[in-house]
Symmetry: C2
């Protein structure tokens, strides 16, 4: 608790909440232990906090029914803004970013010997994005030319990538030799590798290590995705998932998938939810699902479902509107 709390910029929190009577506080799972501390602090500043116990996976994630709760402002803790959603929240939203305490520079130094070529596309994610400048300096001092792609409508910072928006990488892919990913996990670098086909080196500050072992993970993932598509082959009944969250709602895409299915004589069902889960979907008498919601749902959670759960791009491959060779990461651009 103590350790985590010190990461919150309480001065900024106070500024954000100023003039509000009631704010809704949204935190991702990893920061949820901060909720009561934030509520205490706001209370002492004369602001009432309502802690949202709905899951929160980013600035795209808003599906809270706050009518009549007197909420003046939504405060996302640990998330960066998605600029294009600014005017779409029911009340103004602010973003109290939380920087990681892990040193990105140390991990980047370990990554230097692994980098291929001279021009390096540099990408990172919200917890580490504020350490970008010092990482670029390290690269320059080592003789590399770092290239940082511009932010998009869904990202707040140059070089920032999301699981659903890799444009800071794809936009510079043609002019770099390889990519450096500063962050944890394999999901983002897998997306980088898939969407750019360039070598990717991971500098993971949380583990203070660097690696270029992404190819094996990519192979494993592709085998799994191929198996899911194969399992759905020849099946006739498809549930098309529509996410109800503010920045994950792709109704047009859902209709397009449904249309493609029906063109092939399949039965297609639109299924919406604010939080998809096996408990609510396994019962349906469909053969497989295509998720138009957050790309991670199909990529990370498919093991939890009894039936194949595909991305829209994988569905295109299934109905032969796209070749397996043209496999792409699903993005919300």
């Amino acid at each position: 608790m103590e350790k985590s709390e010190s990461r919150i910029d309480f001065e900024k929190l106070k500024e954000i909440a100023e003039g509000c009577e009631t704010v809704l506080v949204k935190l991702p799972d990893g920061l949820s232990q901060l909720a009561t501390g934030i509520s205490d602090f706001l209370s002492s500043a004369g602001v009432e906090a309502i802690i949202s116990a709905n899951p929160c996976y980013g600035a795209c994630d808003f599906c809270d029914c706050i009518d009549g709760m007197g909420v003046d402002r939504i405060i996302y803790v640990g998330e960066a803004e998605m600029p294009y959603l600014r005017k779409k929240y029911p009340v103004p939203a602010s973003f109290l970013e939380v920087s990681s305490r892990f040193d990105a520079a140390a991990a980047v130094k370990k990554a230097l010997p692994l980098l291929e070529g001279g021009r390096i596309g540099v990408t990172s994610i919200t917890p580490y994005i504020h350490q970008m400048e010092k990482c670029l300096t390290i690269l320059e001092e080592a003789g590399f030319t770092p290239v940082v792609g511009k932010k998009s409508r869904r990202t707040a910072y140059d070089g920032q990538i999301l699981g659903c928006d890799l444009s800071a990488a794809t936009s510079v892919s043609d002019i770099v030799d390889s990519f450096l990913y500063i962050g944890d996990g394999y999901f983002h670098p897998l997306g980088l590798s898939m969407s750019t086909s360039k070598p990717v080196v991971i500098a993971d500050p949380s583990q203070n290590r660097a690696t270029d072992d992404i190819e094996k993970a990519k192979e494993r993932m592709m085998r799994k995705r191929y198996a899911l598509i194969s399992n759905a082959m020849g099946k006739n009944r498809v549930g098309v998932l529509v996410g109800e969250k503010l920045g994950q709602k792709r109704m047009e895409l859902a209709h397009a998938v449904k249309g493609m299915a029906e063109k092939r004589g399949m039965k297609a069902y639109l299924v919406s939810s604010n939080n998809f889960s096996p408990e609510r979907l396994d019962y349906m008498d469909v053969d497989f699902y295509v998720s138009t919601s957050c790309p991670r749902i199909a990529m990370d959670d498919s093991d939890r479902y009894r039936k194949p759960l595909l991305t829209p791009i994988e569905f295109e491959i299934l109905v032969e509107e796209r070749k397996w060779e043209d496999y792409e990461f699903d993005q919300i651009l």
Copy 2:
């Protein structure tokens, strides 16, 4: 599937959906296998169905983010209307009630020898409410005087009770000798027994049986509730749960609970959600919870939580604003 489908009044469904381009179909868990059949039928009538995969526990349960989805009408399957919510849904809502195929008359006949006194308060729940008339006739023919309480702002039929609204019983409690409950489960008859202190006989059509064994269940329940209150005693940090669902949002009550807690020197935290679950609450550094959302959450789900989960009335007992002897069922009236 076949068996269940035949219970749907497709003529009425067609009427309800007439003129709509897109409808949102909401079903409780027990009827979810009907979803694709309903979607097929609507599709053949030129109406697009979006199946909500959010849980649905009644007409009170609306927290679907349907902006931009083109929904013209919400169709609740298997639920009766809550009249006071009629104008609160974001688009018009209709209610396609589904009558149980089980014969209520047979169960009521079995209940006759168990009834106490001559004036019998008769109550039922949505799946059986349409069999009320024939049940009343059976009672009259057996020499009883059935008494049916009026519907409320939350119920669509005279004699209909909800877990959160027992007014069709409490309103006639003074003028009856005992109650007959026509329906399944023990939750509603427990509420009846608690809120009226009159003898309660259960006629359960789904099991074709009648029983007056409610007292034991009541004792068990009261012991459990007492233990939960005891476990919370002397504790200082309370999470006050606010349900985000349309008919379960009791913000004023939440503030009242918070106020009572703070008056006693406790720390109180407002926590909102569209679906409370242990996964999202167990992490919080509070000692116990008070739920102002659906009364069933505290009553049915408390075993699933690591920390005591109380009703607002139980909290009043805890802080000695109410005596244990004045225990009441939590209702949303």
